[in-house]
Amino acid sequence: MSGPALLFLIVGLGVVGWLAGRAKARGFSRVGGRRALHSLPNYHGWYVALWAVVPPLIFLAVWSALSPSLVTDAVLATPAAASLPADMFSRAAILGEARSIAMGQLDVGFNPQAAALVAPYRTAISYYSSIGAVGAALLLFAGWAYGYTRLKQDFRARTRVERVVMGTLLIASLIAILTTVGIVLSLIFESIRFFGMVSPFAFLTGTHWSPASGNVDPDQFGAIPLFWGTILIGAIIAMLVAIPLGLMSAIYLTQYAAPKVRQWMKPILEILAGVPTVVYGYFAALTVAPALRDFAVMIGIPNASGESAMAAGVVMGVMIIPFVSSMADDSINAVPQSMRDGSLAMGSTTSETIRQVILPAALPGVVGGVLLAVSRAIGETMIVVMAAGLSASMTANPFASVTTVTAQIVKLLTGDQEFDSAKTLAAFALGLVLFIVTLLLNIVALRVVKKYREAYE
């Protein structure tokens, strides 16, 4: 029986189980009066349906993972398989093709030899899928019968069904942990392999970065220039753009702007955060970088590069403006109105109130927001890949080209995906550093923000 048909059958019988369970429960209620039934008939129905459907589905999931190799073994045992080439890859390709033809996914084979194997495949597939179908059917009826016979007048069907629902919810929540664990394990695992080749000390303190394929030279893996580039772009230039613009925008919109202006400008500024980073990257590389370079040349800055830290940093800063401004907005709004009134009633002007009372009060929140923004900026990839360049230099000249952790991760991993070269593994070590740093920034920032919120609640 084909997969979809089987699924259809299972679901169909599940529906029947639902109807039967419900009918049986209705019968009880007719006998014992309404309150006699613990759970609504529907829940009895669900109980039966779950018993009928879930075990065969689990069985089928397992079976469909197991059966292909059983099928292949069976096919290989037939005489038709004797003529297969010894070379594993051709074998596999021919088998795969024969299989696809047998299952009707392919009309004609590319490999002529496949044709001979179609028949054995058909036999084996139908044999094993009948086993699967029979197994599923047995489970289905067993579950069905079990569920059905358990229904009684005071049977707590609802409680059982709800327990299944709760279990599902819990499993959904656990996926977040799984993902985190997956990230941490994959980063750590590959990083350990890397640190087997290059010492963490050389990696974290070296100032020379030029990983090349082939033999491992620990001197090539000094990541300090990358860290510096990341800081220069993400934590310095981008913040020099984003903090004043974001903060002042938030101040203007919350304290000065007419409600109508605020209502329009806020979403407009938020668009800045919604523009994909690849667009920013393109814009930075195509428009901003050349303009900045011209400007740098005009004012006589040496080594101005078209892929400058400045271009990437400025554009990244613009991208982060709404982020900073909405964090600042929240913090400013959390300062109680009474504080503002108090200051105004002393005869201070609005700007004095903002600078001397509101901002100091909102400072922890703003700082927390800035930390979050920094963590966003140093993890940003596309803008730096497209606009910051790849030269691992430790220059402080913002018009020169620098590279960042993320840009190097991309560089190291696009193309060379062989997993035991130091070059590839270095990307994971960089990823680990990035992960740890952004994690710490986030934890600190969230803690600061939370403390601050509590202060005014």
Binding site: A172, A176, G182, L245, M248, S249, Y252, A285, S375, F435
Partner: protein
């Protein structure tokens, strides 16, 4: 408490004279500073908005031409043309082979030379002959006489026709224009085709379809998991270690740089599970991991904003906790959850970095047929085109950006609409 009178004897002073000149000067200074501060704020807003406007104008300016296509009329006289395909053969059904063997490239070259002089072949897009072949396959009768084909121009002609091109191309445009051979029309190939090496033929449909498939996978995985997890955390989870760990994980996942998810996908999905590289499946799963925490956080906020009195009311008439949630809380929180989901999906749709690491940075010309086919996505296509040598791709890149921005902005606008429409204050 001290007697105020005793105090006064020691330290009192004359009352402040608010009208003294130095006071007045001070006031003026304070107001000037107030105005300055306000203008600084206004300029910050204006600068941010101006940057956005600048970005959009540059992209639209560069890209709007990408939606149109210069076409050149190519008259072909099959009586004299160096090609021999029997139209009857085409009708008979064994035409495929006949067409495949015929030299349409040569035909186009011949006809172009005949019409516009030597080298005129260069005026046409590389793939122009394929279109001729396609038209003839559709209508073999064309072979019987003279026909004028309307074929896409090569990208340098296209550029010269739309704006400033190279001197050579400008000359060609002048020549063609003088023969009334040029026309401009909607670039259907751009909206319906896949990637191509010739900018005149390159299209975004392949990438858009890849994006749609990827988003489908993302949505199918992230939405239910996100909603269920937020329900669990907000409505049922007892405060214990496990819940704390879940919470911390989710908050951190929402802040992890996207490239890290790419590393995860590479290490786990591709290298460990052997899932197909460059496929919407892997891309979608990766982006789902990124989107799920966004949905959970939005979902929890939406659920939190459902007033407890409604839960009490339902519990009070004897609803179970599952019933309370699924009959009352979830329906009321749904608009908020949807808003968060759309915003999360929009973010995923614009994401490039993690997909770079799973092989989506590739030339993939055929639009994907399913979630395991090799495919690229819109932002990746933008990235790839931004790297192309041919100048014609500048326009295409910006045009693709316009398409992406239109999709994203409409998603965001829809989210804002949802939020405003269903925002409830209890």
């Amino acid at each position: 408490m001290n007697s105020p009178d005793a105090l006064d004897a020691a330290v009192d002073r004359t009352p402040t004279d608010w009208n003294a000149p130095d006071m007045q000067a001070r006031i003026r200074r304070r107001y000037a500073s107030e105005r300055r501060f306000k203008y600084v704020g206004l300029s910050a807003v204006a600068a941010s908005a101006a940057f956005l406007a600048f970005l959009l104008i540059v992209m639209i300016g560069n890209g709007i031409g990408g939606f149109t296509q210069t076409r050149i009329a190519l008259p072909v006289d099959f009586e004299t043309a160096p090609i021999s395909v029997d139209p009857d053969l085409l009708r008979s059904g064994s035409g495929e082979a006949a067409l495949a063997n015929a030299d349409f490239q040569g035909l186009v070259e011949y006809a172009a030379t005949a019409a516009y002089g030597p080298g005129a072949n260069q005026y046409f897009s590389d793939g122009a002959w394929v279109l001729v072949r396609r038209q003839i396959a559709a209508n073999p009768d064309l072979l019987l006489g003279k026909t004028v084909f309307d074929l896409p121009a090569a990208s340098d002609i296209d550029i010269a026709n739309k704006s400033e091109g190279s001197a050579e191309a400008e000359r060609a445009v002048k020549l063609l224009d003088s023969r009334h051979a040029l026309s401009k029309s909607l670039n259907v190939a751009f909206l319906t085709g896949g990637d191509a090496t010739d900018p005149a033929l390159a299209g975004i449909w392949g990438a858009l379809k890849g994006s749609l498939l990827t988003m489908l996978v993302t949505l199918v995985l992230a939405f239910p998991v996100g909603v269920l997890a937020s329900l669990y955390l907000e409505e049922y989870a007892a405060r214990n270690r496990l819940t704390d760990i879940i919470e911390v994980s989710i908050n951190n996942l929402a802040a992890v740089p996207s490239i890290i998810f790419g590393l995860l996908a590479l290490a786990v999905f591709i290298n460990l599970f052997g899932m197909p590289t460059s496929s919407p499946l892997v891309g979608g799963v990766t982006l789902a991991l990124m989107t799920m925490p966004v949905i959970v956080i939005a979902g929890r906020n939406a659920i939190k904003s459902v007033p407890p009195s409604i839960r009490d009311a339902a519990l009070g008439v004897g609803a179970s906790r599952v019933q309370v949630v699924f009959h009352h809380v979830l329906p009321l929180a749904l608009p908020g959850i949807l808003t968060g989901t759309i915003i999360g999906m929009a973010r995923a749709l614009g994401e490039t970095a993690p997909l770079l690491l799973i092989g989506m940075r590739a030339f993939i010309a055929d639009p994907p047929g399913g979630i395991t086919d090799p495919s690229t996505v819109l932002p990746m296509q933008i990235f790839l085109w931004s790297d192309e040598v041919d100048k014609g791709f500048v326009e295409k890149t910006s045009a693709a950006i316009i398409v992406l921005l239109v999709v994203l902005l409409s998603m965001n606008a829809f989210a804002v609409y949802l939020r405003n429409r269903f925002e409830k204050r209890w």
